[in-house]
Symmetry: C2
Subunit: 526 residues, 2 copies
């Protein structure tokens, strides 16, 4: 590789990484390597960014919520102004369409998140200030310390490690961020980091507020995660790599927010099929193939009771999967991993109705894939049939009756979402109650008559769920202000003199934050 690798961002300086090797991503639409290269940092880079992050965290104590908000807003505006270049680079690295998607959906979402996070930082209600006036005890969430963000491959903007949801939440909560670029879109991440650095300088932020490396060895990654200078981690990505890092964090009692895998079961109750079969076929196919199935909340497992409608549904879905254009996958490794998952499911006994093979020689792609099993098969090996096939593939589980369907759900691992389609007149109500009773407990978000793709950035959203969907079922990665709390520690101030309290806990309530005072919420002063 003759190209000079891109610099890393350490303590406000762009400098060459200390590295023995470098890597280049490919353009998944052609399979050709892109010309730029990126360093695989050694430990000395990690050490330097950890020291700078710790020092930035100390300095951040002297910045007001307003100043942090201003950084986020400045950054959002710089991103908007650089939209054309960002969209072009991300399109090359990910194969995702410029429109509809990168330019008109994901970029606006990304800057929207940054601005929502800024508003949350400014008002501080996210910190759940709680006051017991009689005992003179007050508590709130406070910044936890430097946060490491490992972003996923599938949202180069909205979950980018230096621009996305975890980044926005960590900064808004008052923490420096160490971003580890996703290896499939390092140039996009580099471009964001240029803007983030510029915004930090324009708004007089500490020099180690935002830092960037592209990749490390696995041992250095674990060492980074376990280092006492790092206080928490947000990780979205592959299950095995995530579990290794999580174990390193767990050993030292450090919060590691991981989003690892989810098949997002969708249940179609019989009444829904009789009432609106054609509509449901379209609704499912559109969601299942959206973004070539590469969403965390892609509906990857469909559950239904055997019937004539069910057979019609399956053949219609199969035929639409055959005739629909086959999208580009994000990278060669997504392609490899999808083919491998399909092979595992087939080997376990799933019937391949369509797809399952590579489409083009160069482009990263797999034919739209439908697999079918019976409920009995699932119950004979629930573990293997929950293999996530990330991409444009679906496993349909046909159960002989509702009892068997409920039993299948009882064997599900944790998932981000669970959807239930039922008849609108109430014919399915008894079935619904049985299914929802067991499904709700296994998912972070339960939906009615709605596909799980499309995760609104709402305070009421939960993008989380029981393991292995995430590492702790009490937190959401999407939705402001709730996502900020992940990157905070609870601090109680016991008889602390008023002038020494954080502004949000002082009697005057200058920020007009919502506070739980003696058991009642209010946003006034004391």
């Amino acid at each position: 590789m003759t190209q000079v690798p891109h610099p890393i961002l350490v303590n406000g300086q762009w400098r060459p990484g200390s590295h023995a090797t470098a890597f280049s991503p490919i353009n998944p639409s052609t399979g050709a390597p892109l010309s730029e290269s990126f360093p695989v940092s050694d430990w000395s880079d990690c050490d330097a960014i950890l020291t700078a992050a710790a020092s930035a965290f100390s300095e951040l104590r002297n910045r007001t919520p307003d100043e942090i908000a201003l950084f986020l807003e400045t950054y959002a505006s710089l991103i908007e102004a650089d939209k054309e270049a960002l969209v072009e680079i991300a399109h090359q690295e990910t194969g995702l369409p410029k429109a509809p998607r990168l330019g008109d959906v994901e970029l606006p979402r990304t800057v929207g998140q940054l601005r929502q996070a800024a508003a949350a930082a400014r008002q501080q209600s996210w910190s759940m200030p709680t006051i017991d006036t009689k005992a003179n005890i007050r508590s709130c969430f406070q910044a936890i310390g430097p946060v490491g963000v490992f972003g996923p491959n599938n949202f180069p903007f909205a979950f980018n490690s230096i621009a996305g949801g975890d980044f926005a939440a960590a900064i808004a909560a008052g923490n420096p961020v160490i971003a580890k670029a996703n290896s499939s879109h390092p140039a996009t991440t580099y471009r964001f980091a240029l803007l983030a650095d510029k915004a930090a300088k324009q708004t007089n932020m500490p020099s180690g507020l935002v830092q960037l490396i592209y990749r490390t060895s696995h041992p250095d990654g674990e060492r980074l995660v376990a280092d006492p200078r790092l206080s928490a981690i947000g990780y979205t990505g592959a299950r095995n790599a995530g579990l290794q890092l999580k174990a390193a964090a767990d050993r030292v009692g450090k919060p590691f927010y991981a989003e690892l895998s989810s098949v997002n079961p969708v249940v179609f109750l019989p009444g829904a099929f009789s009432e609106r079969l054609d509509k449901l076929i379209d609704e499912y196919v559109s969601s299942g193939l959206m973004g070539t199935g590469q969403f965390c909340t892609n509906p990857g497992m469909l559950l239904m009771v055997d019937s004539e409608d069910t057979s019609k549904f399956i053949s219609a879905v199969t035929s639409k999967y055959q005739s629909s254009p086959c999208g580009t996958l994000l990278s060669r490794s997504v392609e490899t991993s999808l083919l491998k998952s399909v092979a595992i499911l087939k080997d376990a006994g799933a019937e391949l109705l369509t797809g399952g093979t590579k489409v083009d020689e160069g482009r990263c792609s797999v034919a739209n894939t439908v697999l079918r099993i019976h409920g009995k098969q699932f119950l004979s090996d629930p573990h293997v049939f929950q293999t996530e096939a990330f991409g444009n593939a679906v496993l349909i589980v046909v159960c002989k009756n509702l009892d068997e369907l409920v039993s299948v759900i009882e064997h599900l691992e944790g998932n981000l979402t669970g959807s239930i389609y039922s008849d609108s007149t109430g014919a399915d109500d008894a079935d619904y109650n049985r299914v929802a009773g067991v499904l709700t407990h296994r998912v972070g978000r339960i939906l009615n008559d709605k596909m799980p793709t499309g995760v609104a950035v709402s305070p009421a959203m939960n993008h989380g769920g029981p393991f292995p969907a995430t590492g702790h079922p009490g937190f959401t990665a999407v939705g402001i202000p709730a996502s900020l709390v992940r990157f905070a520690k609870l601090t109680c101030f016991d008889a602390v003199r008023e002038s020494r309290l954080p502004v949000v806990l002082q009697n005057a309530n200058a920020l007009k934050a919502w506070r739980l005072v003696d058991g009642n919420w209010s946003n006034g002063s004391l």
Copy 2:
């Protein structure tokens, strides 16, 4: 051992444990074994309680918040009615005084917690209901599933595994509890379990709502914790045993709320000493020796800057430690472990000013102990000098100046509490800011001019802190309603039909719960 071991409580039935061995606690006031014996359960007992707990959890879905509250209140009243026997048994097993302590302080606190938990269960504001009316997305915390509670040795009532804070929080959040008795007070725990079972039957609770075993092998303990039928664990106790169990839970992504160790640093700034030296000597000694130092929040490490006042403080404390009566320790293992910790600190170079030896042959006890080191010594080996000496021992760290003191704090692990004493007129303010800036980040609760013993059951309390004080710095084990959230999962209801929503998320808000609706808190209906 000829005595028939006490029965275990499985699925509403008292039955002999399946066990190969049994154990008997001792009376720490005399060192003599108590006559009763308790089974060390084998895996078949664990398996049976797990199955019953899972089934109870399903049944609990059909109980209203009011019914769960009624159970907690009925139980609280049964405890009050049985007070005399409970106090007698606990006194024999723990050596803790009947008054002041078991009968007049800890028992009222215990029933108070159960009643506060009942009120929280009834009103459901703890579940943080959040509603986005525009997007029709609603979320709240919901019961997580069966909870395992491992109670500590030092609060036979208020943190008893089947009556204390974790128990109350887990039940109020809607979960069955599997209690693992602390081995030093199994008879107390058995007595509570009799009452809990009676209350469950009187209030028509599922038969596996409350269950009890006394002890397992270590491998069975880890297997229990990792079993998918158990959803979360509350553990308060020894660090090494806790870390083993935590690792088992972490591997399967299960919340494990651990309270492991804390030295609770107390900083005396120079102005406080010049202003009120005598008062501070008394205040410290009274807190340090309270309950023979056997509180999680015992002030075990004192930090001060070298001066004449400091020398006076140390000699006065040493002399008061010598002349104060030496309390009884909770068990032989507390005695052994305290002597061992003192030896570790001495071997590392700490100077023993008084104490450090066993007092009586039979009774569990160690002479009141004061150790001193210099800041420089601490900084040469911060790890060893943070060895927790649980009991009536203190380590005084004398620093040459404030810089050194701040540096010592920068090397502290996570703690439950950190106290700072300062002059009342503001003379210490600059020093306070430096110290508080670094100390606050390392503790769950920061106190001004106040000893950390005495943990108010307040909504604003945080009894938690960064590792190793606990396993996650975002949660508190004391304080209702916040402690309930540990035993809950976040669930989002996306476009779920209104009649299918939990009552607390329905428009009518029949429970008048506080809810975050479109960004504002209110307790009205929609």
